[in-house]
């Protein structure tokens, strides 16, 4: 059903308030702001064209899902290598679920993580494979809850939780290693 409001007005209400959040997500997925802006522009066009498919509810999640999907399409076209590394997701999830048994059970001290410098942390996040990076970004940068993330990525809740755990584990290890190295 068409809304009674014109699409441009709905676009203004549903999409525009979330540009900053969307830009942050796109930047973490593409790795830099100018590519992120291109992705976001394309996502805005899609959102505008499909504004009638927004059926109420969490507008931010709706729009950021579009941003995320456009970012992957963009990456597939412009940086296929960035996605290649993802490999078989089933394997990754198995790895994520089983990782605590093989990894060093202790991470670095919390204090060491707390004083990690911005560049090291950013590099560590960008070093994560996209399926792991996106859950960290959606959770800790965009502030979505597990259920929202599961719905946005179309994943079971348990997979979101284990990917998030795996991603954080990798970040902690990276920061601990950086600190020892420097």
């Amino acid at each position: 059903m068409l809304s009674s409001k014109p699409p441009a007005e709905r676009f203004g209400e549903v999409v525009l308030p979330h540009l900053a959040d969307a830009l942050a997500l796109a930047r973490w997925l593409t790795g830099n702001t100018s590519d992120a802006e291109d992705v976001l522009q394309e996502a805005c066009l899609r959102a505008y064209a499909g504004i009638d498919t927004y059926a109420g509810g969490n507008a931010r999640a709706w729009f950021l899902t579009i941003v995320r999907n456009v970012a992957y399409t963009w990456l597939a076209k412009n940086r296929p290598r960035a996605l290649l590394a993802s490999g078989d997701l089933a394997d990754l999830d198995e790895l994520a679920a089983g990782q605590t048994n093989t990894d060093d059970p202790d991470g670095p001290e919390a204090a060491m993580i707390a004083k990690a410098d911005v560049a090291a942390l950013e590099a560590a996040i960008l070093h994560l494979q996209p399926p792991f990076r996106e859950v960290v970004v959606l959770r800790d940068i965009n502030g979505f809850g597990y259920r929202d993330i599961a719905a946005m990525l179309n994943l079971p809740l348990g997979t979101v939780m284990s990917r998030l755990s795996r991603a954080r584990r990798l970040l902690m290890m990276q920061l601990g290693a950086t600190d020892e190295g420097g």
Binding site: L45, Y48, K77, V118, I141
Partner: protein, 267 residues
């Protein structure tokens, strides 16, 4: 307990993320009080979360806001005619368009020469041609040749339909080597008309469609209207009159027109 430890870690993580209900959180906190390893894990997650949350965020620049605002008509505007055909004109396209930039720059120079020729002899049909030529020239000079960028014809066609109330067949010619770049609105003879943009290698081909009966009478077959420097082919299908304009050669453009007509007829 290897499997238990994973579950516990997810539980501790859920606590740090505020995803546990009060009863589970309380139980876990009590357990953590007697388990230094669990407590340390919780502290690590909390430290990491706040470090990530503190990371600088990219600013949405005013320039970018303007770029996005330009994508849609202002809410107050009436849906029809004020087609602002080149809304994206000043926008700084990258990515997909980067590859096109070189060929665009060259074409623009060539096209301006032919525009001059076309304008110089401005009788009625020639005036139409010169308008087509200058619209093509404008689109090549603009940073983006399209107002709606999509390779999905199911996106482009409704967009055009919504903008000008006309939707010519938006055919998928990718198997013939022509990829759909998007659509835009052209104002020809004072009327907003839908335009489709295809890409062949690094060249753009613009197809402008006008509902038939509104323009000059046209022969049914494709007519060659090429001037020097760019090619212009015209044909009609009984519903629309089409002009295809490009800087590719005549023969190649005829080829394109043939593919387009065949695909449109099969729709």
């Amino acid at each position: 307990m290897p499997t238990g430890s994973m579950d516990q870690r997810l539980l501790v993580q859920a606590l740090a993320d505020g995803e546990l209900d009060a009863a589970s959180a309380l139980a876990l906190e009590q357990r953590m009080a007697g388990d230094a390893a669990l407590a340390a894990e919780q502290a690590r997650i909390v430290a990491l979360k706040s470090a990530v949350a503190r990371l600088p965020r990219p600013e949405v620049s005013d320039q970018f806001k303007a770029r996005i605002a330009g994508l849609v008509p202002p809410p107050a505007a009436a849906p029809a005619i004020q087609a602002s055909p080149r809304r994206l004109a000043l926008h700084d396209w990258r990515g997909d368009w980067r590859a096109l930039a070189a060929s665009i720059a060259v074409t623009a120079v060539v096209a301006s020469g032919s525009t001059y020729l076309a304008t110089r002899t401005a009788t009625a049909p020639d005036r139409l041609i010169s308008e087509l030529a200058s619209s093509q020239q404008r689109s090549l000079l603009a940073a983006s040749p399209v107002d709606v960028a999509s390779s999905d014809r199911h996106t482009v066609k409704p967009w055009l339909d919504a903008k000008v109330g006309l939707s010519p067949p938006t055919v998928d010619l990718s198997k013939d080597g022509y990829s759909l770049v998007g659509g835009r609105i052209e104002v020809i003879g004072g009327r907003p008309l839908p335009a489709l943009v295809y890409r062949l290698r690094k060249h753009l081909i613009t197809v402008i469609a006008a509902p038939q009966g509104t323009g000059a009478a046209l022969p049914a077959g494709a007519a060659d209207l090429s001037a020097d420097g760019f090619s212009l082919v015209r044909w009609s299908d009984g519903t629309f009159t089409y002009w295809a304009i490009s800087n590719i050669g005549r023969a190649e453009l005829d080829d394109f027109a043939a593919h387009f007509r065949a695909a449109a007829a099969a729709e």
